[in-house]
């Protein structure tokens, strides 16, 4: 654990210095935690004026007393899912750069000749991707809550967040997703020498989330706590598999003999 912490300490300094990671993260936080929620909630009345939206609410929720409140509640469900893009993106940006940097510098062999264990190396790399991802995600959810509560209070005089769905998405679903994407990014990075192709995997993994949002908007189902918990369990079941593959990929022998290295 001490050696994994040494790796984490060194690599986190490099992550902090990496402007590309911070700039991308800042843009995503601004869009998903500030601009989108503020815009959608403040403009919800005009959305409601649209005949299709009114028909959609009638179809999905029946006749309701406060259609604006229902609409904001519906928007929030989509926003929570959209915010999952943040842990996915941060993990998929950091994990591949951490692995491919070792390849670019040819540092894997001298590193493996030290008393470090391959599992400690994997743990160090994993922490480097997951911890910033969780910190940034938590900050994003807090910003989202503040923005949503201020705008909803202005519109309707109530504070919709935090609620149980928010807690599940922010503190259960996000870490699980971050872990899976980190593991998959590490596995992909072992076979790649190009950082961009390895980073692209994050945006591919997140596609099912857009599918869920699309199905909700099409009125197929409405996300509930039960659905979220089922989603958490499904993803949790995936975790041991990706971990097992990552541990296998990070075997000392595999790193030297099977990883694709820079020429």
């Amino acid at each position: 654990m001490k050696k994994a912490a040494i790796i984490f300490k060194k690599e986190i300094k490099e992550v902090i210095k990496n402007k590309n990671i911070w700039l991308s993260t800042l843009i995503i936080i601004t869009i998903f935690s500030i601009v989108m929620p503020a815009g959608l909630i403040l403009g919800s009345e005009s959305i409601l004026d649209d005949e299709d939206t009114a028909n959609f609410i009638n179809k999905a929720f029946g006749i309701v007393d406060e259609p604006l409140k229902v609409l904001i509640g519906f928007i929030l469900k989509q926003l929570l899912l959209l915010l999952l893009f943040i842990p996915a993106m941060v993990s998929s940006l950091i994990a591949p750069s951490s692995v491919i940097m070792e390849k670019e510098n040819n540092t894997l062999e001298p590193l493996l000749a030290t008393p470090i264990g391959a599992s400690e190396l994997l743990l160090g790399k994993t922490l480097t991707a997951i911890i910033p991802s969780l910190v940034i995600t938590t900050i994003s959810f807090i910003i989202l809550t503040v923005v949503v509560d201020i705008t909803a209070f202005i519109k309707l005089g109530y504070l919709p967040l935090p609620n149980l769905e928010w807690v599940i998405v922010a503190f259960i679903l996000s870490p699980i997703l971050s872990f899976i994407i980190t593991m998959i990014s590490i596995i992909v990075s072992s076979r790649s020498t190009d950082i961009r192709s390895a980073q692209g995997i994050g945006s591919t993994i997140i596609l099912p989330i857009y599918l869920i949002i699309g199905l909700q908007l099409a009125g197929f189902f409405l996300l509930s706590i039960t659905y979220l918990l089922v989603g958490c369990l499904v993803l949790l079941a995936v975790c041991p598999f990706v971990l097992k593959i990552a541990v296998k990929v990070f075997d000392r022998e595999n790193i030297i003999t099977k990883w694709k290295m820079k020429a």
């Binding site: 050696k3 040494i6 060194k10 490099e14 210095k17 940097m101 510098n105 040819n106 540092t107 894997l108 062999e109 001298p110 590193l111 493996l112 000749a113 030290t114 008393p115 470090i116 264990g117 000392r252 022998e253 030297i256 003999t257």
Partner: protein, 307 residues
Amino acid sequence: MIKVKNLTRKFEDITAVENISFDIGESEIFGFLGPNGAGKTTTIRMLSTIISPTSGSINIDNRDTKSGGEHIRSIIGLLTESPGLYEKISAYANLDYFSSFYDITPERRRKNIEKYLKMFGLWERKDDLAGTYSKGMKQKLALSRALVHEPKILFLDEPTAGLDPESAYMVRNFIESLKKEKTTVFLCTHNLEEASNLSDRVCIIKRKIIRIATLDELQNSSENKIVEIIFKDKAEKYIKLLEEINELKDIKIDDNKATVAIEKPETSNPEIIKKLTVNGAQILYFNEVKATLEEIYLGLIKDEEAK
């Protein structure tokens, strides 16, 4: 210190190293020589427990590599073929990072980093990014990294590659000085003069071991001794005479010097001198010339290829 027995390593259908065995003692400098693709790097990787053998055993500091990997890695230092440095952090940070994986106090770590950076003339630029270093400076930094935790065994893969003559001389002297500190050195090099000057014994490998011996043993074990005959006049005059003597082979003439290979010089030399002088040759000198490691190496590799 290092005991290798019947070591074989295969990569799918390719056998990189086949059934090699050797022992290396404490504070010995062991030259490991062979052409490209001979299995040198694979052997170093197995000895430093980075990869495991397909069969055979390695015992280092009384520990088997299969079970004692972490202990072995804690007492070895490895200089890889490419320097392998983090280019975006400083030279000091590189050494500090790598040395922090070893069980040494932060104070000793600091002292050692300073010692080696000063020794290799890098101290003034310790805070510069490693990526801004020249090839030679990177090599010296990588060598410092291999030494900073004071290893008992040092694996050096081409330690003077990319160094200017002055730095290479300094590194060679340093390797020689390691003997006094009881450090065992496994020296992999293509520089045969370097191997010849530094090594207590050399091992010539081409997938299998061709020969392990001291330089003296190699020179004395050669079947043909090289003899240099200096005549008073042009050696060309005596070429026919030399060719008529059965004991002589590989005759080379250069001005008043003839270089020849002689089988069993102890018995042949008096006869050869007699024949030459009887036929009017005036011999100024008749010297045995020791074959260089390069000549022996090339001869052994050539013989191996002919098999």
